[in-house]
């Protein structure tokens, strides 16, 4: 009887979970496995794939544009990640203060995160416009004092990546929210104990708050690595074709163009797997490097 019941429960469980199993198999597992095979094929989506061995991978090694996109993506990530993490952390600490009307401030800082990426890109195209942009309207007079023109954010390779970083930092609302939640989780008893020991604000932050929220910093860092390496929508709309001079041509844009514009799905699949391995290695390294600096409560 017990065995039958267990069997029935197992079946019921499977039936309940079956929509997920079916969806996962059809829309995730199969495409993922198929893309491994396609990465070794000449495949345009429209004609049957033809096996070409590792040609797609060897071509990528010799593809100058591939390395340009890798370089652009890593430079962008190394600029954006610290900038947005630090901004988010500082904002979260400010928004954690006990001030009247805090709910309004918190909402204000979170709202940019709700703006759809496409709208955000169009909005920032205007903010960063070299001639009529709001940003240059503010900083222009300073430049003019020295008889210089303010940066042409979107028209010159030197300023196009910093322009992207500025846009990314503006929408750190999600990270702020996560930091804020963890900051509110820091036990007040520890803060009070530090105060009794004579710690000032800076020492409390450095020795109590930061260690206590370190797992969340690591989480945001890893999510940031994944997010910045996959940056797509903003530059695709703001800087068509990676203009100027491929300075904003990022990895996923080249992948997309290969797949859907150049009909080289095999090549794009190979790029997809290389990106996966890159993210995997960076995530692994981050976790290993953070072992001594991340403190888990209860461990």
């Amino acid at each position: 009887m017990t065995g039958t019941l267990a069997k029935k429960q197992a079946w019921a469980g499977l039936i309940f979970a079956s929509p997920w199993f079916i969806g996962f198999s059809a829309f995730i597992a199969y495409p993922v496995l198929a893309s491994v095979y396609f990465s070794f094929c000449d495949y345009s989506v429209l004609k049957p794939p033809v096996y070409v061995g590792a040609e797609n991978y060897t071509d990528l090694i010799h593809d100058e544009l591939f390395w340009t996109t890798v370089r652009n993506t890593l430079v962008y990530a190394s600029m954006t990640l610290p900038a947005s993490m630090l901004t988010a952390l500082i904002l979260a600490m400010l928004l954690n203060a006990k001030v009247k009307g805090m709910a309004v401030y918190r909402t204000m800082f979170f709202i940019p995160a709700l703006v759809p990426q496409v709208s955000l890109a169009i909005l920032w195209s205007w903010i960063l416009n070299g001639d009529h942009g709001v940003l240059n309207a503010f900083i222009g007079p300073i430049y003019h004092l020295f008889h210089k023109s303010p940066p042409n954010w979107m028209g010159t390779p030197e300023w196009s990546k910093p322009a992207m970083v500025l846009m990314s930092v503006w929408s750190v609302g999600n990270a702020v929210l996560i930091y804020l939640a963890s900051l509110q989780d820091v036990p007040t008893s520890l803060i009070e104990a530090a105060e009794l020991d004579g710690a000032n604000g800076w020492k409390k932050t450095l020795n109590v708050t930061l260690p206590m929220i370190s797992p969340v910093i690591l989480f945001n860092g890893i999510m940031g690595i994944i997010g910045t390496l996959q940056v797509f929508t903003g530059p695709y709309i703001m800087f068509p074709n990676g203009q100027p001079a491929h300075s904003t041509y990022f990895y996923t844009e080249y992948l997309y163009d290969n797949a859907f514009k150049y009909h080289k799905m095999g090549y794009a699949s190979a790029m997809g797997w290389i990106l996966f391995v890159m993210i995997l290695i960076l995530t692994f390294v981050s976790i290993r490097l953070s072992e001594k600096h991340v403190h888990y409560q209860g461990s």
Binding site: D42, L46, G130, G155, T156, N241, G242, P244, F260, H263
Partner: protein, 442 residues
Amino acid sequence: MDRGAFFIPALVAVSLAAVGASEYLTKPAPPDGKVHVVYWEKWTDFEFTAMKDVVDSFNKSQDKIQVDILSISGIDDKTLMAVSGKMPPDVAGLYGANVTQYADDKAVIPLDDLCKEAGIKEDQYVPAFWDICNTRGHLYALPSCPASVAIHWNTEMFKQAGLDPKKPPKTWGEVFEMAKKITKKDANGHMTVSGFLPAEPGWWSWMWGPLFGGKLWDGKDKITCNDEGHLHAYDWIQSFSKEFGGANLASTKSGFGTFSSPQNGFLAGKLAMEPQGVWMYNFISKFAPDLKWAAAPLPAPDDRPDLGDATIVDLDVLCIPTGAKHPKEGFEFIKYVESQKGMEMLCLGQRKASPLRAVSDDFYKKHPNPFIKLFADMAYSKNAVAVPKLGIWPEYQAEINSMYDEVALMQKTPKEALDDLQKRMQPKLDQYLRRLKERGEN
């Protein structure tokens, strides 16, 4: 174990199945007994309305076929996906530049036999447009709306700069000299008014080489983008950067609003000369009806007067995607569009010239664009240039755009930039052709 453990999932499954099937069950069968042809078109706004009028006219003209037109953004990508998903439309309104790539990928079917049966022949069309529809010895598309490009100039700005408003530049050297006279700068050296920006509108960065006598490839297996014509063209482009500053030119261009807006540099009276297509009239009449302007064929290089009266020819096309359910009925509709009546209705509605040789007097009389005859005649020019018939064209074009930036921003000399482009593109063409050969398709 109670029955609920099975009852609830079963109920959920039945409900899901019912929801899934409901669309199929409730979808009414076409009550008219007609064959419904699905037609995807890229156009919006009045251009879409013009084609919708042709569709309505076709639907009224007979009682066996009903064309259902749908405006689709990103039509090239979506057609690609629909063909691979075996759910393509019956007719797709693609771009002329897509023809070779889609034909090589077998995404569209050849129309030779259907045209022969319908009596559609080469001599009915302006040669440049018919040529765009042909690739690898077969016809894969038929024209919808054609375009040719002329230099547009602001006659008022010419007058203000002391130039004869009736005399357009005949050579690219004259364009440079006129630009110097017209351009004005503020105290910080920023251009407030520009005579000419080689990067505006920036849609045809590839055109400069061919307009200076260069060739983008040899028509067989060699990329030839670093030939004399290209070198000459990009030297000329870089002369603007040397004169006005590369960053300054980029900044001025980025200060213009989007093309379809009153902030467009030419429409706002901030740019005196610009190569633009037959459609420019539509935007002038909408956003700057008081603008004083004129149009003329594109100039020639100073040392090559034989390359005068040039233009770029481009074309929107109608194709039948591979796997279309109703190719014959779809072609019936295409045949209607290709008739003089259908084509003139469409081109007049979109205010463009006709790709057909035979044009009624009424067409020109009714046409609002005062330069329409010029645009129609330019398409016959021996110096009309079109995108090359290369399967790797989208990639080649993207690389040209980037190379253009490198030259304009003076990151490289024209020779370095063109040699690098040649070095990058030749292996890509080699591989493309080799893979076609391995599949037995070349």
